[in-house]
């Protein structure tokens, strides 16, 4: 399935272009249309590598096990810089598990074992001498339920940079981060108040501010809007679209419409259930979002997106 996508590209940078793209269309509702046009162009041009952003994370035959349980089987896909890549699929298909491989959050589950390569800027994240702590500083994460620290808004944002030994002006950094997370105007007068006083949507934007405060280049989002109401969800989606100018975003979502609205590329995962009840997730299809939603290659994908399954 990946044959259509070139996995090795020159490091020539097309970020400028991406940024312009971002600037020209600022609302989430435009996203699907934009990417649809883009992908059409890509396809008709025969996949000219120069049109594509460079690969920042490359998964090669990733398998995840929990003890003997084979949770995810043989996932290979490239993540491109300054794009939003969505992972979709039914429950238990391993999409969150794959996401958590990317910043070694799976290390926290003792029985978890990751095989295969997760290459970040060409460096294998599971190679020797890699410090997961350093990895997580560069590859930030936003979780399903907003999980601010039970501290002040300011301390929530400042914690990451502080432990990473940030030397600059912390107040500025906090302001920038909150500003980028589109939260500054709402909280600038109450930075010392508890983060728990914020609404759910604000809390999630605070978590995004917290994630970008350590200046990562990739932000992982594990169903970031699933605990929020539709309006707050829309805010988060708009924010993601704005952040794309500077960060590579990978989002796991249950919500196909959301994937269609915000993402540039989509990976569809499914799950095989063995006779003994073991559920192993696998990647079914990976392509530009518009392609995946309009003309999927696999019948399985079509069944899922048309609601016949899952």
């Amino acid at each position: 399935m990946t044959d259509r996508i070139e996995t090795h590209l020159g490091t020539t940078e097309e970020g400028q272009m991406a940024q312009e793209q971002a600037n020209t269309s600022t609302t989430a509702s435009d996203v699907a249309a934009t990417s649809a046009e883009d992908s059409d162009a890509v396809r008709t041009s025969g996949g000219d590598p120069d049109d594509l952003n460079p690969v920042i994370i490359e998964l090669e035959n990733v398998n995840v096990y929990y003890d003997d349980f084979h949770a995810v089987s043989d996932v290979s896909l490239p993540i491109r810089e300054r794009e939003i890549t969505a992972f979709i699929g039914p429950s238990g298909c391993g999409k969150s598990t794959v996401l958590r491989c990317l910043n070694r959050m799976n290390d926290l589950i003792e029985s978890a074992r990751v095989e295969g390569g997760v290459n970040y800027h060409g460096v294998d994240l599971y190679g020797p001498n890699i410090d997961p702590v350093e990895v997580r500083r560069r590859i930030g994460m936003v979780f399903q339920k907003p999980n601010p620290f039970p501290k002040s808004i300011y301390d929530n944002v400042a914690f990451g940079p502080k432990i990473a030994g940030y030397k600059g002006n912390m107040d500025d950094l906090v302001e920038q981060s909150l500003d980028r997370a589109a939260l500054w105007d709402e909280v600038k007068d109450k930075l010392d108040e508890s983060a728990y006083a914020l609404s759910g949507g604000q809390q999630q934007r605070l978590c995004i501010a917290r994630a970008i405060a350590t200046s990562p280049d990739v932000v992982l989002m594990d169903e970031p809007a699933s605990a929020l109401d539709p309006i707050a969800t829309l805010r988060i989606e708009e924010l993601m679209y704005e952040l794309k100018a500077e960060y590579t975003i990978i989002i796991v979502t249950h919500n196909m419409q959301q994937a269609g609205r915000v993402s540039d590329r989509t990976a569809f995962f499914s799950v095989d259930i063995q006779d003994d009840g073991e559920r192993t997730g696998r990647l079914v299809e990976f392509s530009e979002t518009a392609t995946l939603f309009t003309t999927p290659e696999k019948q399985e994908t079509e069944d899922y997106i048309t609601g016949r399954f899952g």
Partner: protein, 308 residues
């Protein structure tokens, strides 16, 4: 900010931070293993002197009719019988009171009443045993035991057993109450859905579902009763020695009281003959007995935790 390629070196992290992490972990690990060290220390110190005792004592002295260590009579059954009698009396008090209180609190009490009643029972659980020992001697013995059994002595195993029962009742109540509240609401609803009333639901659904937790609480309470010292030492009498008897209206000496009595009887624990060593022998028996009971109880608790 995203353009620079990253080398493996940059992802290796700050070595200072990593070293600190390792040191901190080592410190916590040492703390974590102190409990093992204490266990070993207990076993070694008990077993060492117990071995000295058993290898030097005349074995027939372990089966003579009485525990008079200063006279060289180390009748273990005397202590075991007294421990058994007092524990049985204590359980007779604690099982109905504890389980009744637990069932009422878990199933009938309004949340507001429960909010006050549970801490009150916990207060009862926090009363030091020396207080209950004093009370068993100065209240339970004259006001209850001697009123009912007019001929009985001021020091009786019955008074001590009742005192121990009061001590362990809150333990039974709180642990059983937790077990009953852990029974899922859906089971109760299923019972009500079949037209059962509350009493039937409590007896036929909640009790059986919580039974392992209840049993665990009872074993735990029994272990506590066996290991209780002060109440027995103060209220059951027989300081210095005891005759083998099954009569709860007689004075008696449990394993724990025998240790306390030997340790305080005369100024020096290291008294004549093997008295000092016999302390550790009895201590070892006590340790093994309570260890066995606690292990069973812990296992039962773990099992019922897994069920839900």
């Amino acid at each position: 900010m995203t353009t620079q390629p990253i080398t493996a070196q940059e992802l290796a992290g700050d070595p200072k931070r990593r070293r600190k992490e390792t040191r901190v972990k080592a410190v916590f690990m040492v703390a974590g293993f102190t409990s093992i060290a204490i266990s070993i220390a207990i076993i070694v110190s008990l077993a060492g002197e117990a071995w000295n005792f058993i290898s030097q004592v005349e074995l027939s002295a372990l089966w003579t009719l009485g525990w008079f260590p200063r006279r060289g009579l180390y009748d273990i059954p005397t202590l075991v019988i007294a421990t058994t009698i007092i524990s049985i009396i204590a359980m007779i008090v604690a099982i109905p009171l504890g389980l009744g209180a637990a069932a009422y609190l878990a199933e009938y009490a309004t949340p507001r009443a429960r909010k006050w009643l549970k801490p009150t029972i916990e207060v009862l659980a926090g009363i030091p045993s020396v207080v209950l020992g004093f009370w068993a001697l100065t209240f339970i013995s004259p006001e209850i035991v001697q009123r009912i059994f007019t001929s009985s002595k001021p020091f009786t195993m019955l008074a001590a057993g009742l005192g121990v029962g009061v001590l362990i009742t809150p333990l039974v109540a709180t642990v059983s109450e937790d077990a009953m509240r852990a029974v899922p609401l859906s089971l109760r609803e299923a019972s009500y859905g079949l037209g059962a009333n509350k009493a039937t639901t409590v007896r036929k659904v909640v009790f059986p579902a919580a039974i392992s937790g209840i049993v665990a609480s009872l074993i735990l309470a029994l272990s506590r009763a066996i290991g209780e010292t002060m109440i027995v030492f103060m209220a059951a009498g027989a300081v210095g020695g005891a005759i083998r008897t099954w009569n709860p209206l007689e004075p008696g000496q449990t394993m724990t009281a025998a240790i306390a009595s030997l340790a305080t009887g005369s100024d020096q624990v290291a008294g004549e003959g093997l008295a000092f060593q016999s302390l550790f022998f009895v201590g070892l028996l006590l340790f093994l007995l309570t260890l066995a009971l606690n292990s069973i109880s812990n296992r039962v608790v773990r099992k019922y935790r897994e069920t839900y």
